[in-house]
Symmetry: none
Subunit: 209 residues, 4 copies
Amino acid sequence: MAYRRSALMQERLADNRERILAAARRRIAAQGYRGMQIAAVAAEAGMSTGMIYRYFRSKAELFVEALSAAIGQELKLLNAIADGPGSARQRLYAAVECFTRRALAGPGLAYAFIAEPAEAEVDAARIEVRQRLGDVIKRILRQGIDAGEFPPQDVDASAACIVGAYTEALIGPLAPRAERVKDRDRLTRAICDFCVRAVSAPADGRGRP
Amino acid sequence: MAYRRSALMQERLADNRERILAAARRRIAAQGYRGMQIAAVAAEAGMSTGMIYRYFRSKAELFVEALSAAIGQELKLLNAIADGPGSARQRLYAAVECFTRRALAGPGLAYAFIAEPAEAEVDAARIEVRQRLGDVIKRILRQGIDAGEFPPQDVDASAACIVGAYTEALIGPLAPRAERVKDRDRLTRAICDFCVRAVSAPADGRGRP
Amino acid sequence: MAYRRSALMQERLADNRERILAAARRRIAAQGYRGMQIAAVAAEAGMSTGMIYRYFRSKAELFVEALSAAIGQELKLLNAIADGPGSARQRLYAAVECFTRRALAGPGLAYAFIAEPAEAEVDAARIEVRQRLGDVIKRILRQGIDAGEFPPQDVDASAACIVGAYTEALIGPLAPRAERVKDRDRLTRAICDFCVRAVSAPADGRGRP
Amino acid sequence: MAYRRSALMQERLADNRERILAAARRRIAAQGYRGMQIAAVAAEAGMSTGMIYRYFRSKAELFVEALSAAIGQELKLLNAIADGPGSARQRLYAAVECFTRRALAGPGLAYAFIAEPAEAEVDAARIEVRQRLGDVIKRILRQGIDAGEFPPQDVDASAACIVGAYTEALIGPLAPRAERVKDRDRLTRAICDFCVRAVSAPADGRGRP
DNA sequence: CATGAATGAGAATTCATTCAT
DNA sequence: TATGAATGAATTCTCATTCAT
């Protein structure tokens, strides 16, 4: 063990790390992982590419840390809400609202959590597919509302939520590994129930602040 | 054009197209768009790279067609359900169930509709982030169930649905463009209401077949 | 020696050959050698790519024959003029006029004799270089005309001719191999004299029909 | 930016650019734009292909710069001559001489300004076509000289100049757009007059230094 | 320590040519 | 004999990562 790092150096090191992470965050928000070229991050951070590798072992590691750093703040807030006062319903409402509000205000970084932009043509195809899935849902919702089966609601938002709900539940990391037929059935039923309940229950505003 | 194409050749041509699409589908299921290298598809289909370009103008076009072909069948089924008999609730249930069931049975292709895989490390980070978001939700749900506020339910599935719902509603193509503060507020409220309703209503099984 | 080809077959063969050459000519006129893809020629000629290779050993050979065929007619006319009646001056005038007039009327095939289109950027650069060379010449010509040293003339055409004259004389296939300094000097002097004479002599219309 | 670039590094950078341009120049002189493959240039310059792209955005840009660099010096000299002292005739003579002399001394790069080499066979055909055009002209010239109509002159050079003059005037970028019949007639006449004058006037050496 | 020049492994795409049918 | 499907070599360009200075 030779010298201790002086406080100054420590600080500088920490500083650089932060600057790199911030630069990466900006690039990710703008272009996703693919747009986060090391050279671009370095330029944005005002340093050399070599410097990046002094603080991060690889591009992937930098991305992971940038992602974690960005989401860390959100998680802190969400956890505070979860552990805070109020009924569960109120806290659920507050948690979703908190994330949603911040994401809508912020600089699109949320995108990086979910999907990776590809060529325009490919993105366009994905968008279209999701829109067509959503269109079917919207049609059903409108009919149900007209028939008085569902309470009035924002069908665009509901349809988006439904498509998001079942795709995430199916393929997302939260999806319970459903390898046996029985498990699959249970998962399917849970998802369907979730969606039906969400659109059926009266919008009584329960939970709203 | 002197000779007519023999039936055999016609068949082979159609065959090739199908073989390419099938090969692409396999690659996409395994690795997403990025893993769908032309050379890999060609190898998987047992032909030369040049052949791919006889049937598809570009890599992106091949992806789009593979995507469309795969989703086309689903959409047909969903539309039939939407336009079919039964209450809206029943049809919504049936639609979600149909997609879900088939996706769970199928070969992970659905993944490609949603997210673009990157390096393993990056994917892992995305997964973790979503899991941690889900964990918060699960904690709230469990507390609510214990307190009798929420009916008993599959908290894993519900949490996944919630995370999926708000991410899709926020960033997906279905998301209403929310540029004014007022619009954002309305969207946020719609999402929150959706989620709260979904977990609050009694699982009365309405809509189940 | 097996069978003789029937007259019919001979004709058909000749027919195909002509059709291919004509198709190639059209493609060359449109896009130069690079645009003369075998597949495009075949399509234009209404036959298969394989057929092309029954009549021409390679793409290059087809180009060469198409070029020769196209220029053959011109050469016939030019030779007739050269061997015809009239003073040398009249015949030179007639020869140049003949080629020029036909080229101006025709479908740009002449281009293929000289230069091969490349990427737009590259072509643009070449054009600019030649224009700037021409600009210098034009400036001198205008000054000379104003000073009464040169007779009035179309300076655009004269400049083009001069640039064409010396570049061709230098690098074209007609350029005498000038490897010794003495030869180079003689060539240089001949070119310069040519250009100066061309712009200095009064446009007395000698030779005009 | 912590460190300043050392003089040494600066030099190396400039060096690389020059080395690439020189390597490109050599390849172009040998094979034209088509022979200027990035890999070949990199090999010739003794570096990796990636390096090329650090200095030039694309293959086309490299070509354009190599072209411009080579021609820039020539244009400077020509402009100096055009703006210098002496009669217009003397300056025209000097300008043509300057370019000619230098091109004859240099490494065939001039070729790239004019024509885009293709396969050897194709080039050979082009050469032959031009030679045959030149042969007709030469025949006329010789007859005219024998008949005393034209003064003695280097018929090879004159023929080359004539072929160059009318091809450039016809198809080159300097060619006035001749879309109406009237314009074409005027252009044709200007070219013919130019050529006839050039070979008819006595070689009185006017303009020679 | 900091730099950024240098590397080189890929990846997409084109097209002349061949040959089974 | 005529077809056109099939091949695959060649070429441009990108970017994560390294390492001499």
